[in-house]
Symmetry: C2
Subunit: 436 residues, 2 copies
Amino acid sequence: MQEINVGLIGFGTIGAGVARVLLENREIIQSRLGCPLNLAKIADLDITTDRGVKIPDGILTTDVNEILGNPAIDIVIELIGGYEPARGFVLKALAAGQSVVTANKALLAKHGNELFSAARENEVDFYYEASVGGGIPIIKVMREALAGNRINSVCGILNGTCNYILTRMGSEGADFAEVLSEAQKLGYAEADPTFDIEGIDTAHKLAILTSLAFATPIDYDRIHVEGITSIKPVDFDFAHEFGYKIKLLAIAKQEEGQIEARVHPTMLPESHMLAKIDDVFNAVFVNADALGPSLYYGQGAGMMATASAVVGDLIDIARNRLNGGLRRVPDLSFQESAITPACYRPMQEITTQYYLRFSAYDKTRVLSRIAGILGENEISIASVIQQGRSQTGGTVPIVMQTHKAREANLRQALEVIDELEIIAAPTVVIRMESDL
Amino acid sequence: MQEINVGLIGFGTIGAGVARVLLENREIIQSRLGCPLNLAKIADLDITTDRGVKIPDGILTTDVNEILGNPAIDIVIELIGGYEPARGFVLKALAAGQSVVTANKALLAKHGNELFSAARENEVDFYYEASVGGGIPIIKVMREALAGNRINSVCGILNGTCNYILTRMGSEGADFAEVLSEAQKLGYAEADPTFDIEGIDTAHKLAILTSLAFATPIDYDRIHVEGITSIKPVDFDFAHEFGYKIKLLAIAKQEEGQIEARVHPTMLPESHMLAKIDDVFNAVFVNADALGPSLYYGQGAGMMATASAVVGDLIDIARNRLNGGLRRVPDLSFQESAITPACYRPMQEITTQYYLRFSAYDKTRVLSRIAGILGENEISIASVIQQGRSQTGGTVPIVMQTHKAREANLRQALEVIDELEIIAAPTVVIRMESDL
């Protein structure tokens, strides 16, 4: 009987999860695939730490070259993360005719195009389901299931740490720093949470989804990124009054030949499916011309959920091998000839509604001064909340929801407003999206 | 350049949608597939009605044999619905070496095993994404993306008509008959809505999902089916008090080697993702051992959404053809040798929580009589709502939420209770599921 042999590089949390799935679900995988999917080798610098998985003798090694280029290994799994040596390992495997599975979004966001080229040239598969949305099969859905559609937009909650923090802040009125430190204790946030809370991890994933949706090379540098650190509990209260939730959203859409790709805190109507995604869960919302709206929800991180995506990729590649050939689906779903550089819309040119929270001194005519400046910049106000009288320091929050306006106009107006003597602190801006 | 030719049988609403996607998205499909996917023939008895799609000359025919067995046609799409002649047409196409795509859940629920055999014997593909959940790619997800997992349960809202009716009843306190007639006016319900409101359509789909999840032949007759016609507006009020929503749920789970497969109105905690699915939308919730919980949401019916699934299947089969071979994925994801008849748990043996609404005459000791009989049958009460005094006819609703109990015990208790002179009408039972 034929067998498919797999080599795993990186025996951390996800690596241990992959090993567990391959070993514990060996029989059920074989009953689907029709042949064994063997975990042949695991390479890691540390092969002594107990990962809670019983690994058969002779599989663990500290020498990555027992996997890379080893003709007995059909598929290489890269789970070490980061740029180097991950990039070098992947390129070496591809050059040796080994297919590769990765969960490494940072690597894809930065070097994806190079790796796709290498996979194409060497006529092997390079799969990356686990890189976006953890266990959610969004890559397969977009590459295959929706292949008859033109994708209009893809939006998502792609970072569990941020979604956990925002959910807790919203439900408990707790402060950002307080919830972050609790999330760290629970293992939902890293010791250094920068990549998560500044939106960088989300943007890595959005760069991949943008390419898949719009047939364009991965271009991380074109993604506009803002994190969640400046949101205050009071913003959740006002959001609630407007009937909105606050989420860190990744948004990619194509309109009039231009792509918008941006990551920022977003107010979403409570009725929107993405507004209903709580805690550490992720979800991706796709708008496609035939299918219309659809949503894919699940655990965006974690040992076993991510392993599910990695093993799904292994089985896919194995089915390709057993059935006549690799390269059944192009890396980004589109043929190479169809992938063309995109025109990205500059952030200044986007139009959306805005939530604005002004910290104003409690003086007469404050509201009319602000409204006047907004009006001069072609920003019209949809509703205003001005509650109570002055708080500490004699300021009152004035909160507005604008109609749709151009980002450049808003920035211009705020430059003037934030310089006024009646304004005590920089205005808080959260974009409100009602048409996603 | 190679081409893939497609023949469509059945030019109704979905057929017109498929034609539209193939014609309007021809370029984007080719840019993914690498070769044209041609709509070569459309067969229907009525080729004069305008379906709102401009069909090129020479494609429409009334003769199905211009498609079936025509060596120039690679893939046949069956969209006529029902059992015959659909079954005969599919068998003829498969026997002639043509791959087949269908949206016909009734056909699959009744004849799926026979059709899968025929596809296997003739070494062609038989795809059916559109048969469950309309445009939601749940078949692909379960056959491929989750292939590394053991599936523990699959639950879903699989009928848009029912979900629309239940959503409206819940939000407006409207009566079943009233909402149904409105749904019919809006085109959300058929003139004869029996298949939908009695749960039969949902059960057809659940029969397919059950096989896919648990590697067992399709067996529609083992699905327990109840519809939504006996639910009253007052039940939504009580559900709300308990913190639950009412949905027509399809439930398939495997525990201790036994399969439960049932369709019935279900109270779900408001926090459950399936409780958040409103209007005509469908969603499938899967619990898998590695992935954990995941949810797939979208339009479960309609011309274009269903067409998206059909065209997704076409592209999948075309990619198989172009890449060396059909039969890349077994029909039910598992190899034939792994598909074994299942042991289904009899409905009497299931255990769940129950919502019970008694219509009792307003007399002393009513509650203790009922509680006594429940207790004798090993059913313990989790909470009771007894509001106000007698309504029309001197009855009061007494509403209870039980702890987990065996269905047989509940039925036994209700047989006694519903015979009591203090009980005015048969007790309303809705199962409450908190662990899905």
